[in-house]
Symmetry: C2
Subunit: 326 residues, 2 copies
């Protein structure tokens, strides 16, 4: 029994809809011809702040404000998309925001968070310092902590991607979803499976996450403490799924997981840049790589229409991976 | 008196609509805040084949077929977007196509033309060889020649951009349009001025085109034979407007022309990559640069809503201009 349902996703949809554009669904006849099915790419890279993260952040903040308790502001720790998303969402809701960020975070991301009106508190670049600093700032400011992924309000917000996607492309047979802690994958899984019980939810991971083995065993086989996977897809480098997302994905996702190495991620990114004319980050490149993979090619012909989540576009264009070593 | 009217554009619209997606209109609240007006970016970089060119090419081909005369195939000479566009359009219409291309054209563009099923004939990289080779191939094959820009059917096709744009954003006060020979600018000018006589049509040029002096004098002051301007915006490097587009733009465009140098074009491109998450080529970067310019900033406050044409996205992502010299 999960504590989140399609009703929560619909409520999130009505909460965040006034603030966020519907992202486009892209297609490529060239890609379809090369890979033998019809593919639909949900361009969350073109969402406000450059990633889907703003859906969950905004839902969580508005829900906090709806609770009736006074909200002084919000905090989180993030070196990436969630920090920018929360800063933007807080500014839209008239709330103060403090983002705890490792001091080795690229300057452009820090400037972007500050550009949305949030304060940045630097910490050491390790999980312990991030959490401790965030707890201290949360205590000192009296702000409310908004996690990046493993929270039902976040999942409900991310689930709105699937509402929009299936409204526009109702005949999807499967969706390929990059996962880090799995908040987006869980939110999409709950939504899509409620609307279309036979749709297949495939998780996409960077090499080294080893999710398939866990799903087949039905056990969290990952080493502790939680680790980062070595991948150019920096948005999905956390190895372990969250404590709340894990049972949802164990129940709703296919056991077959799509794994992409750096070379494949880069090829996926390049196709999107060159043919679809969109800027995507590594995590999105992994989803494109899954769509291009032999594993999908060998699957059943009943999977005719495949959704691919281009989850974000926050990549450093001065350091694109195909320039490494040039 | 021009030989093209809004009726031709509407006819083109109904001809090409079954084949082409409506391109999205992008916005950026960050950009608006930085530049003090509201900007709407028409993403023709996301059009089939990566540029607006396919609108005119498809209109010209279908009109040829409608004429009742048998059409064996089509030819053109192009080192860039028009060649890809014509090849794609010909394949959709079941016609053969031969594109004459200078032998120094990047391999990726040649492969793309061939990928759409067209033949490629190589020529020397100069205007004379291009035209002579194209005439020879056109004679030998009995195919019909479809020019890239300076033709009423091409202009009518490109004018459909403005139909779509004003349908989605009716309150535009001005449109910034990159121009090479000016087929797109003329088509948009005819369309937009017919629908909104007070709208301002601003041409955007690379430094060295010197269009403003010509428009003010009402004379074609350019040196002959036609030259290329030295710019990273390779899609708009032809210095002279066409013979047919010139009187249209002389009549309908503002005398004030927006000029962008390489540094400004690159800044425009980088904003689009970084904040709007779209891949654009130099010519589109020039339009973004015009939107960012001091010249626009100093203009009248009555220009509240500004359209910007992102005309194409065919840039070599292995050779992005900000990597030059790295």
């Amino acid at each position: 029994m999960t504590k989140i349902s399609i009703a929560d996703v619909l409520q999130a949809h009505y909460r965040i809809k006034p603030f966020l554009p519907k992202t486009p669904v892209l297609t490529s006849s060239t890609f379809d011809a090369m890979h033998g099915r019809k593919f639909y790419f949900k361009a969350e890279n073109m969402q406000k702040t450059g990633s889907f993260k703003v859906r969950g952040a905004l839902n969580a903040i508005i829900k906090l404000q709806e609770s009736g308790e006074p909200v002084k502001g919000v905090t989180t720790h993030s070196s990436g998309n969630h920090g920018q998303a929360l800063a933007w969402a807080a500014s839209k809701c008239g709330l103060k925001c403090n983002v705890i960020t490792p001091h080795d975070t690229p300057n452009i991301k820090i400037r972007s968070i500050e550009g949305y009106g949030a304060s940045v508190t630097l910490c050491e670049p390790n999980p312990t310092s991030r959490e401790e600093t965030c707890q201290r700032v949360t205590m000192e400011t009296g702000y409310s902590f908004v996690p990046s992924s493993d929270h039902y309000d976040i999942m409900a917000g991310q689930g709105t991607i699937a509402l929009e996607f299936l409204d526009e492309v109702p005949n999807l047979d499967a969706i390929l979803i990059p996962a880090s802690k799995g908040g987006m994958a869980a939110g999409i899984a709950i939504t899509a499976k409620s609307l279309k019980p036979n749709i297949k939810i495939f998780v996409v991971e960077p090499k080294g996450k080893d999710l398939e083995r866990c799903l087949i065993a039905g056990e969290r086989l990952w080493p502790n403490p939680p680790q980062f996977v070595d991948t150019i897809a920096d948005g999905i480098r956390i190895q372990q799924l969250g404590k709340l997302t894990w049972p949802i994905l164990l129940k709703l996702a296919e056991k077959e997981v799509f794994t992409a190495d750096n070379e494949e991620i880069m090829r996926g990114m390049k196709f999107a840049f060159q043919r679809m004319k969109v800027v995507i980050e590594g995590a999105s490149g992994a989803a494109v790589a899954a769509a291009m993979s032999d594993r999908l090619r060998k699957m059943d012909d009943s999977i005719k229409n495949v959704g691919v989540i281009l989850c974000g576009g926050n990549v450093d264009i001065d350091q694109l991976p195909w320039y490494k070593g040039k």
